[in-house]
Symmetry: C2
Subunit: 248 residues, 2 copies
DNA sequence: TAGGGGAGCTTGTACAAACAAGCCAGCACC
DNA sequence: GGTGCTGGCTTGTTTGTACAAGCTCCCCTA
């Protein structure tokens, strides 16, 4: 069962994407929408709030809402899982475990994952036949067993873990920066040593906030980019100084 | 006048950051909070929704809310304006215009900014005395005059434009990837040609959705990183394939 | 001891009403 | 022609109520 406001939001989104409300035009007022859908104004507000959060619509007090653009946003699963993302967009893709081993957690890992032993896995993933991503993932001890049981060419670790032990990834924190390819990275991705890579480090937790994995993903430059929409009202993106210490 | 739910959110945020609600702990229920602040449940919900949007708190139906982390999020202005960001974090910073000229818009720029003539500005910005950012910004014709009147070492273009012509940046869309430093980039940033740069391309619009600027910002690797928090409920980040065409 | 069922708690959805705050166009006035 | 103000419109905030959906934990049973 989908809620009322989600259905209204979906209809409005379709109208925007379908050109009924072109970019730059004004959206109907809340009262009009409420009348059209026979819903309370609060319900319409919830629907519109979704579109505002997606960056599709701009809103400010006193003025009519306007259509900002038509970027479709992705689900959390689609961002988190390379396989689900690639599949949803119709890309050919693959993955292969290069190596994995259990070891003691470093102090930093122990603090992040809350355990003393970890499973480290090195994977390479490809898009349209080309290797594009080197993934160094560290799993907390309580998931290590399930991960070890996966086949080396497992397409989607996310889906496999959900189906095998009911593990659901619910929250993520991402750090994005650029690094040089190490000799090892370069060999795995088929690029020159020192060439630029887009790095995404992320920590993922369950519904309960329990950390599951800590991963260092490196994309070949040009293969993938990240997109974010923000506004005065909602700003999910944060800039922060890197590890380099200045003038120290 | 700050609204009620914003004040409640601020108090809760302080409690979380101050350790009253440690990471991993449960937040009081909505009813408890409503009683504590003598507010309606709906108002408390709005306050908590803010924290959820910031990624500070996790929430799902039926279960108590939990504290996910203590990352303070930034305002839109702080992300958009290098000067406001650096100042808020107490960094020494500077900026210098290297060159600027009016020219005809390329087809892509014309489509994005909705005008035929643009002002292109090249700036270098420094942090703690080191150059860290090369900024190539293209302004729409109707702002060009005001930008040209700014001094070459103007600290904050955002603030200057707001004060001079009342221009307020309200919405942004960001594309993040990694690129090699060109010879020109390398000279300006004091790095080797081909070394990795973190690139942030963004388009910014006014409240009305009118595009103001299109910018290509390149950060020296290691100087700055971007951070995003997401969840199954709210996912602001989108991954997309880059310009490279695979197997074509 | 392991498992199922359910009661109670907590968050999610929906409606209604009233007022506040901000925007904008049109009008009157200079 | 320009300027300033006002009134109506639109979104934002707050309260109250009722029910739905989902989670937790306890208790009972096999």
């Amino acid at each position: 069962m989908v809620s009322r406001y989600e259905r209204i939001a979906a209809e409005l989104r379709d109208d925007i994407l379908g050109g009924v409300h072109p970019v730059g035009s004004q959206l109907p007022t809340e009262s009009e929408l409420a009348a059209r859908y026979s819903a309370a104004r609060g319900t319409v507000r919830q629907a519109v709030a979704l579109l505002v959060a997606e960056g599709l619509v701009g809103s400010r007090q006193g003025a009519r809402r306007i259509v900002l653009g038509h970027a479709r946003s992705q689900s959390f699963a689609e961002l988190h899982s390379f396989a689900q993302w690639a599949r949803a967009h119709g890309y050919r893709f693959g993955g292969q475990v290069i190596g994995q081993r259990r070891r003691a957690a470093t102090p930093a890992e122990s603090a992040r994952l809350g355990c003393a032993e970890v499973l480290e896995v090195l994977r390479v993933r490809s898009l349209e036949g080309e290797p594009v991503l080197v993934e160094r993932t560290v799993y907390a001890d309580w998931t290590a067993g399930a991960v070890e049981r996966l086949p080396a060419d497992c397409e989607s670790v996310t889906e496999a873990l959900r189906d095998s032990i009911g593990l659901v990834f619910a929250y993520g924190e991402h750090l994005i920066d650029a690094v040089s390819a190490s000799a090892h990275d370069a060999r795995l991705l088929g690029v020159r040593r020192g060439s630029p890579l887009l790095r995404q480090r992320r920590i993922t937790t369950t519904h309960e906030g329990r950390p599951v994995e800590w991963s260092d993903d490196r994309y070949r430059a040009g293969s993938v980019e990240f997109s974010i929409r923000n506004s005065i009202g909602a700003n999910p993106l944060v800039r922060q100084a890197g590890d380099l210490r200045f003038g120290a």
